[in-house]
Symmetry: C2
Subunit: 433 residues, 2 copies
């Protein structure tokens, strides 16, 4: 009956082909091959140094020896899992929770921000007994099935259990009430569809909306609307957390405290670790119904890395450092735009910086094309940045937090040069005109 | 309008409480706190050595210096992401793909087995244009929302897009045809429900079914049935892969080759890394519709660990080693059962060993209780094992693959002692009677 060696045909036929999977997409028209990285510098295999101004994972700098040595020592000692106890995990958890509001009492570790948001959605759905989720129009919250479904920037197809809200302009003096009104309408729509409101999930710097930050950007009324609908406010701090904004957490500038908070990218400085934190009772309720065990999550080696990051940030005066560096960078970019006569708008929370080129270029598509040219021109000048937001028309600049004044000046010079490089293009002619 | 400092109430009220989240569950009535781990030994904080016979992550041994040193060197050099290229990632990918069938041309990295299975489901759903999934009755494939939904062992509630099949007994001489008939009926049911068949996902050692292995256990006819329904056969090698069964991949003993294969736990020896591999065109199609980027996945530090594991396994004679160790362990367990007059049944694929206690104890609940007593009695004798399968009545033994003959003998002695320890219990009296 059995037929050893029989190899059934795959449902899709496959030609012989190169082996780099088609899902991978690299940055830049000519991808960068990394040889080494130190501080804010990535050296490519031709020996050329690039200033990395687009990486919020190595928040204390690339190849930081405190991380490497802590991980090495831990890997030589033990690296088991959370079915056994390990004092380093408890110690880190205490240090981490001490940085969060008092009602955030428990933390559950995952391997990635995607897993953290996925788990937060599961926990919120279980506790709220609802399945509807409210997200920003261009949100990105991860690549698992469930987080991709609440990430319109990944897969824009409509989902019955997801309602998006347009984030008001950062300059809107009625930002808070306008957003709250939209959230309330979204909750009503989810109720009408029979899902109810499980969660309002928001990246605290609204990065994929083009970075939304400023004195009017407040969330309290919107969070009240979510609570009135029985849902959780989940602060996605995967991009905004760990001093990116100059404070430990991005939500601190928004006048709210989250019900659940998800952490990721900078948490382990590159070691895979992420987390969901929230009230203990919420996890207990969920854990009573469904066990959650994640083999690699919260294991001692990634925890050792996370601990090195936390201690470095906590004891390194990063609040002041990010405030100063962010100001210098923001002012430099404003000056460069003014000198070039380009009407761009800077939005900034600490060292999360957006340069919105839509005022210069008129429409999203032209602004996106201008942004793409500037990104490539800065790459040619050995400075790495990227873009985001509507039409990908907002330059996204988020260097490691250890960027020096000299490096900021180099970044601004490259931006100035890039603006000159693209001055001959149709887009710039219109902007200059 | 904004109301700085306003902290909205969480939807669920939270008492002051200890900070260990309720979702975590440790092994054993008295949890083990790890001080260090080497080879197959875990030393607790009281200085007591335990023989770890229940961990398929440190497949080449706990705290292996080849892994620690490779990760250390890489963390000091660079650890960026897959938006940039890094030669170590390409080199490892080539080495890994060389171990897989020729039609498996591409690999996409993730951080965890859960993420790997979640991505495999997304890819299969996209390519098959179907959403239905066939899994084993007690399957476990992960903890993301989508993989938890196909894991009846986690959350047994019915899901419209999931149909389970009972895995025939390993001893059934008609195993292959019986399973194929069940898969065909499951596919018909998914068709009737309007989902169609996207994937048949199977752990290659069927671990949570109680470990199903042996000469009759063949899949070719079932895979034909899946293909006839337009679906993918996804081999979940998260538990079975990397020489656990004495071959590189568990499916090799099943007379089939997978359409997609997912890898995990032992892959990085404890560093968080996992993967999906399959035909390039399948990933290209999916990647053309939806970008997949996973910040920590396939980064150089976990890849360095995975490379150290691969080289150690490839060059270490592990095929023969696992075959010999597995035989010694299997025979020792059989002898111990016979000496104790306990009617248990060993099912084994290499060093994935199940001791099914149901014949001894009559019903699943009594057998589960007996298994629990044996696990605790072995823990008291400083040997770590666990249990799985129907009623949790199957002892699950899966030591690191570097287990020595002396350690196997110690394991068998502890099993013999545990059987004597539980001889006075009601369950054993019945089994002895």
């Amino acid at each position: 009956m059995s037929d050893d060696g029989h190899v059934p045909a795959a449902p899709r036929r496959t030609p012989a082909a190169p082996r780099r999977a088609g899902t991978y997409r690299t940055f830049y028209s000519e991808p960068l091959t990394v040889a080494s990285a130190q501080g804010c510098t990535i050296t490519d295999t031709s020996g050329i140094d690039h200033l990395d101004a687009y990486n919020n994972v190595p928040v204390i700098g690339h190849s930081h020896p405190a991380i490497a040595d802590a991980v090495h020592a831990q890997l030589l000692r033990a690296n088991t899992h959370t079915r056994y106890l390990d004092d380093i995990v408890d110690a880190y958890s205490r240090d981490l929770l001490a940085l969060l509001p008092q009602h955030i009492e428990s933390v559950v570790y995952t391997c990635s921000g995607s897993e953290a948001n996925d788990l937060a959605l599961q926990v919120a759905a279980y506790s709220s007994m609802s399945s509807g989720v409210i997200v920003a129009r261009r949100a990105y919250h991860g690549t698992t099935s469930a987080t991709a479904a609440i990430s319109p920037s990944l897969s824009p197809g409509p989902r019955d259990h997801v309602v998006t809200v347009d984030i008001p302009a950062a300059e809107d003096p009625d930002f808070e009430q306008d957003l709250a009104d939209r959230v309330r309408r979204a909750a009503a729509e989810l109720e009408r569809r029979g899902h109810g409101t499980s969660a309002f999930v928001l990246d605290s710097t609204m990065t994929s909306e083009g970075i939304v930050a400023g004195e009017h950007v407040r969330l309290a009324a919107a969070v009240d609307a979510v609570h009135d609908a029985g849902g959780f406010y989940i602060a996605d701090e995967v991009q905004a957390g760990f001093f990116r904004t100059g404070a430990w957490w991005g939500y601190e500038a928004l006048g709210v405290a989250p019900d659940l908070v998800t952490l990721g990218k900078p948490m382990g400085g590159g070691m895979p670790i992420a987390a969901v934190a929230g009230p203990r009772v919420v996890f207990s309720d969920f854990g009573g119904q469904q066990r959650y065990f994640n083999t690699f999550a919260g294991t001692p080696a990634p925890i050792a890395a996370a601990h090195a990051v936390l201690v470095t940030l906590r004891d390194g005066g990063f609040g002041e450092r990010v405030a100063d560096a962010g100001s210098r960078l923001g002012e430099g970019l404003v000056d460069a735009l003014a000198e070039a006569g380009v009407d761009g708008r800077i939005r900034r929370a600490g060292l999360m910086v957006g340069v919105d080129l839509r005022p210069a270029a008129g429409d999203d598509a032209r602004a996106g094309a201008l942004a793409e040219e500037i990104v490539e021109a800065m790459y040619a000048r050995r400075v790495l940045v990227s873009r985001t937001g509507p039409g990908d028309a907002v330059l996204k600049i988020r260097p490691p937090l250890v960027i020096t004044d000299e490096e900021i000046d180099r970044l601004v010079d490259a931006f100035r040069g890039a603006l000159a490089d693209v001055a001959g293009t149709g887009v710039r002619e219109r902007a200059d005109g």
